[in-house]
Assembly symmetry: C2
Homo-oligomer: 236 residues x 2
DNA sequence: AAGTGGTCTAGACCACCGT
DNA sequence: CGGTGGTCTAGACCACTTC
């Protein structure tokens, strides 16, 4: 059972997507939502906070909550942790598994995972495509002792849905380091680009709720097809 | 007067920076902070939420709040909107104004600012350096009618502190689009790189609290010296 | 079972926007 | 001035971790 504030957030988000507030661009007041959904005002505020963080609405004290123009659909939204399918819903998202093996952590992986060299890890290399355009090449390592089981079939689909729903893994938080570098020959080939073209790289470190690292990955993105979006408030 | 939850957050942040919790990596409990600072538990929770979003701590239900390893000091933290000085506190941050003029919005700027072509804007081109290394080249436009006044001297320092503190501008939120591309010859020269090297670009759009765009900028970052960090929770 | 964070409520009062 | 979001409180109960 998902908490009330999430349910309310989803309801309001659906309304926004269905252009319910198109005339004025203004949402209902917090009190109105509280009455409508039979919850307290604080619960409504937590729900709206989620939508603010996603970049869907903005709040003006004394005035109301307003829908933002969301030209956002072509970007990877850095607020949403889920992955491509949710960023590009309604578009064709494809995954090709290029390599899958059970191996052990080398120096670099052990360093990134803060584990010992030789720790058993699953290694997965995948090519992601959106609307038939190469999108990114992704090298991932998962700690075998923490994820219990993984196979090639699972990696064809959403690995994270499997971890969350089937393995009941308690995924907590993630760091992403974003930078640019030269594209190497192998990735250039896969992305349909040239060696030494620019590449947009993301080094991802994923933690369980208890702070243990169970997954590190590096994604090399097609510099023409991929842009990332970060929305910020001043309050932070 | 800053709200209580911010003050509490700052206090706890100072404690973290001073290694007060180093032995166990564990913060006090929420109830303990509530007693210590004479506030309600919800206020403590809002304070801790800020620290979570900054990536300083993580929460484990039933267990406590724990300090994260913060190797984060070499990155531009995408959570913090303030700018280089706060990301690289303790390091030498320098700004060289390369160009400053009062002009009017051309097609591209008008499009990005969602204003009419010909709207008066300040244009500023700046080179940023950290520890004497070229860091980024930044092209900014500010709507003259919204920022009232700007001059070259102000742009040498923190433009945003001036807007916030002196002009009392109500800055609300910002979008940043992050991508990679080839470095052009002019920026390569300024950054001490070669033409067609990779570049890490950020297109920034800044809004007042009422939703009006008053600043757009494009930063071209040195791909060897700049990495950006985004920390995420699952809750979003 | 005890400790600790997560959700939720009802209500008070303040700060800001618009008329 | 009334309307609306922003801050804050005190307290209840739940969910999870730890012993």
């Amino acid at each position: 059972m998902s908490p009330k504030y999430k349910q309310v957030a989803e309801q309001i988000e659906t309304d926004i997507m269905n252009h319910v507030y198109q005339h004025t661009n203004k949402l209902l007041t917090e009190d109105e939502y509280a009455t409508k959904y039979g919850v307290s005002r604080n619960t409504v505020r937590k729900a709206i906070e989620i939508l603010v963080n996603k970049g869907y609405v903005y709040q003006v004290q004394g005035s109301g909550v307003f829908v933002r123009d969301h030209y956002m659909s072509d970007y990877v939204n850095l607020e949403k942790l889920q992955g491509l399918t949710s960023d590009f819903s309604g578009r064709k998202v494809e995954t090709r598994v290029l390599d899958f093996e059970l191996t052990t952590a080398n120096d670099e992986v052990a360093e990134r995972m803060k584990c010992n060299v030789g720790t058993p890890v699953y290694y997965v290399k995948r090519l992601r495509l959106v609307d038939d355009h190469p999108f990114s090449v992704e090298d991932s390592y998962f700690r075998k002792d923490l994820v219990v089981y993984l196979d090639r079939n699972i990696t064809e689909k959403s690995i994270y849905n499997y971890f969350r729903n089937d393995q009941k893994l308690a995924i907590g938080f993630a760091d992403r380091v974003i930078y640019a570098d030269f594209l190497n020959a192998a990735d250039a080939e896969l992305l349909g680009l040239n060696e030494n073209d620019p590449a947009l790289l993301v080094d991802n470190t994923v933690y369980l709720t208890n702070g243990q690292i169970f997954d590190v990955s590096r994604s090399t993105h097609h510099f023409r097809h991929v842009k990332m979006l970060k929305v910020s408030n001043i309050k932070s």
